[in-house]
């Protein structure tokens, strides 16, 4: 007895840790992105009115995003969000259709007149050209003040002269005027108002911009390349990608040596989803301008969409070599994530953060990646940095809050969530987390309220249903718990833990037959869950099926051994205690299986924990306390039986045994759960 006793005494530290671990194994990999995507969709819908022209263009991007996320499937983390690419000139939007690829050479052959005229049609006829391109000066030269120096005299003479020369004399007849007028005709400078067009454009004053463009094009008969260029940019911003493409092609005809035009043609092609064609045009542009990071970057992005990741990587590295940009880092990190290479992605993001330490998006993503790998200290560090620069960053707050929750800092987490609640009040993960915070604080009614709100916002999210089931089990509302859990199972039929919880609910609803079936299903789905087997064994024992109980007990021992061999797993003291009691009752007497591994595990844990971040185990206190409080509640009823001895065990343990493991499961599952959820 002595060794076991000591084992319990010290295992206090681990118990909390175990609680966190239990659910992690199955959950961590899968959960991240999903809810987030839903949430994001919801958010986007709410924010961008679909009808408005300006935002409308973003929709195709999101349309494209969704399938991509799905494809990513298992490794859904990457912040749950495909990062949009912005070009120099305008926001990107994707179109899912990539069916028709136009022959690329086609546009280069278009004659300028043909190419341009259909693109813009002017309602008003062309204005007559001004007879004097250098009109009269704003001031009359005062003859009384002759210029002082010779140089000025020259200038002055010029200024004074011009109006005289240009002013055509009043004609006697129309015939005599015509030839003279033609002779005097001067061509306007094509680029005369380019600066004005540009200034309007960068101020996003598109109406004024279009007016100037129209005027300029009329005056130059469609030869002003920059006007067409900006018109095309505006078209693209307005979502008329095809029109913009045609205009850019016109520009490329007007000045074939300009790489910029080709880049824009390629960009429009890219936005139309014709990635291969875009790459070809980019290569064409690269011939004219070798050292352009933008070309390399965009070609890389095209390759990403074509799923040629190695080529994409090459191009993006080239881009980084030429000039470093956050965007390139993000895309490169995304490739690694798509390939499922977390470590490389982290490397890239680390470099990116080094390069631009204040980019909250980079910081958040890096933090989430660390979180995914379980390197909590670093994750917290980066998320904290992100919050320093942007204290209202939704993703960072949720992630950091969940970490606080894991460590039991429920109040701090709640304070942080308030910020999100103000900014994104309709986020299901947020309300789920808030609910679990209240759960941690043992405010069960509030917890249920929040979880129900989360469930209302995302009715098909099984994780919220799972948490609801858990809370209702704690509240001993087994009938409600049954409904939530069975709803969760309908949405996620592959989770052993759900069946186990369902079995616990059923047991309490005095339906042992179905409970057994649920346990069997749980054991089938989760091969290495000692908790499932233990609970099952207890149930069978209570039902008097000793052989079955024994089989489950042995199964549990097997999985315990497996787990112990596979890594530094610690076991919950409550579970160990229960297992020992059951072992004694079944007269297996195999306490050795437990005592040793516990010690081992503990020593291992100690060594690792000292080397590991202090944050991992230090704030465990409250969580552990919670766990203890709950189990003590259970133990309160259990005591007489446990002390009694083996012979008396038959009846009494039956009832109390049941709720207890679940009670342990709650905080653990809950907290881990939450953590996964918001990523």
């Amino acid at each position: 007895m002595q060794p076991t006793g000591s084992g319990f005494a010290n295992s206090g530290v681990e118990s909390g840790d175990l609680m966190r671990r239990i659910p992690q194994t199955g959950l961590r990999a899968r959960i991240p992105g999903r809810t987030e995507i839903n949430a994001k969709w919801r958010k986007d819908r709410a924010v961008f009115p679909a009808a408005s022209g300006h935002f409308g263009q973003r929709d195709p991007e999101f349309l494209q995003q969704r399938p991509r996320q799905r494809r990513g499937g298992g490794q859904g983390c990457r912040g749950g969000r495909a990062l949009p690419v912005y070009s120099l000139t305008g926001p990107i939007s994707f179109k899912p259709s990539r069916s028709t690829t136009r022959p690329l050479t086609g546009f280069l052959r278009i004659l300028p007149g043909e190419a341009f005229r259909p693109a813009i049609s002017f309602s008003s006829p062309l204005r007559p050209l001004p007879t004097s391109p250098v009109p009269r000066l704003p001031f009359a030269w005062s003859s009384g003040k002759p210029p002082t120096s010779g140089r000025e005299a020259v200038g002055g003479a010029k200024m004074a002269e011009e109006p005289l020369v240009k002013r055509t004399p009043v004609p006697a007849s129309a015939e005599s005027q015509k030839p003279r007028l033609k002779k005097a005709q001067e061509f306007p400078i094509l680029e005369k108002q380019n600066w004005l067009i540009h200034l309007h454009y960068i101020r996003k004053d598109y109406e004024a911009c279009k007016a100037v463009i129209k005027e300029q094009l009329q005056e130059t008969q469609g030869l002003c390349e920059y006007a067409i260029y900006v018109q095309a940019l505006i078209f693209r911003l307005e979502g008329n990608i095809q029109e913009s493409l045609e205009l850019f092609q016109t520009c490329a005809v007007l000045s074939p040596q300009c790489a910029d035009n080709l880049k824009q043609v390629a960009r429009s092609l890219f936005l139309l989803g014709k990635h291969k064609a875009a790459i070809e045009v980019y290569n064409e542009a690269a011939k004219l301008n070798q050292k352009d990071w933008e070309i390399c970057h965009n070609v890389g992005v095209c390759y990403i969409y074509l799923k040629q990741f190695s080529k994409a990587q090459d191009q993006l590295h080239n881009a980084l070599h030429l000039n470093r940009h956050d965007l390139t880092y993000i895309m490169l990190g995304k490739i690694h994530l798509l390939e499922g290479d977390l470590d490389k992605a982290i490397e890239i993001y680390k470099k990116a953060v080094e390069f631009s330490p204040e980019n909250t998006e980079l910081l958040t993503t890096l933090g989430l990646l660390y979180l995914q790998l379980g390197i909590y200290q670093k994750a917290f560090e980066h998320l904290g940095n992100a919050l320093t620069y942007d204290p209202t960053n939704y993703k960072a707050i949720l992630a950091a809050g969940s970490m606080m929750q894991t460590h039991g800092d429920f109040d701090v987490a709640l304070t942080k969530y308030r910020v999100v609640a103000c900014a994104v009040p309709e986020s299901p993960p947020l309300w789920n987390n808030i609910g679990m915070c209240f759960f941690g604080k043992k405010k069960y009614v509030a917890a249920i309220s929040c979880l129900k709100r989360a469930n209302y916002l995302a009715p098909f999210d099984w994780k919220i249903l799972y948490n609801l089931g858990l809370v209702h089990l704690t509240m001993q509302q087994y009938a409600s718990a049954f409904h939530f859990l069975s709803a969760a199972i309908n949405l996620q039929p592959k989770m052993g833990e759900l069946y186990m919880l369902l079995a616990v609910a059923l047991t309490n609803l005095e339906d042992p037959e179905n409970a057994k079936r649920a346990y069997a299903e749980a054991a089938r789905l989760d091969k290495c869950k000692p908790l499932v087997n233990l609970n099952y064994a207890v149930l069978l024992y209570k039902q008097g099926e000793k052989e079955g109980a024994l089989a489950q007990y042995q199964e549990m021992e097997r999985s315990v051994r497996l787990l112990r061999d596979s890594g530094s797993l610690e076991f919950d003291s409550e579970m160990v205690e229960m297992a020992q009691k059951l072992g004694a009752a079944l007269q297996v007497g195999e306490a050795l299986v437990w005592t040793k591994p516990v010690k081992d595990a503990k020593s291992k844990h100690r060594t690792t924990s000292t080397s590991k971040a202090a944050g991992v185990q230090q704030p465990l206190g409250s969580n552990q306390a919670l766990g203890q409080a709950m189990s003590s509640a259970a133990a309160h009823r259990k005591l007489p039986s446990g002390a009694g001895g083996t012979s008396q065990l038959t009846k009494p343990p039956s009832l109390p045994l049941e709720p207890e493991p679940t009670a342990e499961a709650h905080p653990a599952e809950a907290s881990a759960q939450i953590r996964e959820k918001q990523e």
């Binding site: 120099l88 300028p112 007149g113 000066l137 704003p138 001031f139 030269w141 003040k145 140089r151 000025e152 200038g155 010029k158 002779k183 005709q185 061509f187 400078i189 680029e191 005369k192 380019n194 600066w195 004005l196 540009h198 454009y201 960068i202 101020r203 996003k204 004024a208 007016a211 008969q221 030869l223 000045s255 074939p256 040596q257 990071w293 940009h325 631009s356 204040e358 204290p391 209202t392 709640l414 942080k416 308030r418 910020v419 609640a421 103000c422 994104v424 808030i434 009614v445 309220s449 929040c450 709100r453 509240m475 001993q476 509302q477 087994y478 009938a479 409600s480 309490n508 609803l509 339906d511």
Partner: protein, 593 residues
Amino acid sequence: MAAASSSDSDSGRAESNEASSKWLDAHYDPMANIHTFSSCLALADLHGDGEYKLVVGDLGPGGQHPRLKVLKGPTVLTESPLPALPAAAATFLMEQHEPRTPALALASGPCVYVYKNLRPYFKFSLPQLPPNPLEQELWNQAKEDWIDPLTLKEMLEGIREKAEVPLSVQSLRFLQLELSEMEAFVSQHKSKSIKRQTVITTMTTLKKNLADEDAVSCLVLGTENKELLVLDPEAFTILAKMSLPSVPVFLEVSGQFDVEFRLAAACRNGNVYILRRDSKHPKYCIELSAQPVGLVRVLKVLVVGSTQESLHGFTHKGKKLWTVQMPAAILTMNLLEQRSRGLQAVMAGLANGEVRIYHDKALLNVIRTPDAVTSLCFGRYGREDNTLIMTTRGGGLIIKILKRTAVFVEAGGVAGPPPAQAMKLSVPRKTRLYVDQTLREREAGTAMHRTFQTDLYLLRLRAARAYVQALESSLNPVSVTAREPLKLHAVVQGLGPTFKLTLHLQNTSTARPILGLLVCFLYNEVLYALPRAFFKVPLLVPGLSYPLETFVESLSDKGISDIIKVLVLREGQSAPLLSAHINMPMSEGLAAA
């Protein structure tokens, strides 16, 4: 959302409300009719009388009537029309002579108009660009009639495809012509020499050899053909020429031309290039990945506003220092220099009608204006040292004077939690009833569960029974038997007492037509009358929907409605294939009468 809330918080702290405002409202005229850019605003003591005037290169409403306006106090002193839209205005000292009245330079098209004492003084025109020699040669040949227009066109097209030097307007226009027009065009224009002219896009001033406040300055011009020119202040000769990879939009200069200077040029390709005295080409390059909307140098930091609603700080070597997000798009930027306190800060006019003043990353002040500010200028105006001049999108003019007691402090720093953190969470409340129900569930959970399960089974059983019954009696509107796959739906139109009942019958089989079907209506003959209650259905071709129309007369005047049953039968078979119950609407015609 997040941005908005943070902006509220920032402005909440830095807000200039009436009492504690740092600014005196000197003048506001929403109808001043001034439409211009920051680059076309200049403050100078034009007459040398110590009274600073405001020079505005006004584009006029819609860019139609460009004017040069000189304002003294709130009133327009002089106003004269301009030949073309002004791209930039600058005041500079041309020479050392007394009285030291600054000259005014106005860049417009290919020319710089220089005024002294508000009188025209000199016009500088950009030199003509050298034409393409090949092109010149071609036109010369055309002049001698050695080549016909078609050959000329082909050759010119060849030049356009390859050549480094772009073609002149004349050639471009020629290339656009139809075959028939070419002859006339050539004969009309062949004698003219080929010209290529460029225009000025931006202009600024650079001290010549002294750093003093009132030292002689050179004009620095940015041109459309991607060049920077430095002009001699006296002789107006080109002192230096530098080339850029793109067209400059904004210029920022520091240093002296004869000693050492740094020139930053924000360009149309989204990059900022930094040049030094001895470099003909850019020494450093800042790639913004967005268009710059403003460029201001504050001491040693280059502040660039980008179209992504952010301000970026860069060193003179192009290293990024910081980024600040704005709540709205930046429209214009300029420098605020409070000499008495040695403060330099950046002002940014935003699309949401705010003017924000930043010292590095720190927000110093927010001015709210009734309209979005499109141009800004700060300096000595009249006899007041620190005057802020703003013009708005609608053409208004706002003049504010900085209080002499005003001290800009960094408003509480960036730290501190957002105010949203102090707000209470709106956790939904639960009612007493809920608690009671909870307690009840605890006590009688098992019973509830069992009742529920029993009822659920009963429900399922009943549903299954009803389904089977429906299948058996062909009560469903879709028949899925192998021989007669049919679909039926019915529409009732009209207000009554006569309704039109349309049955849509569709053969859903892939290939087989159906023949020999009958339709029968069952109805209460007291309430309704149908012309034919029983008729044959024509042959049903697969896939098509056959509308079968019949009229129904409602006989009752009591506003009663009933069900009409439609049965689809096969000849010689008593059990219907399909049936539908049509809930007839109430006859409104009778009810109303």
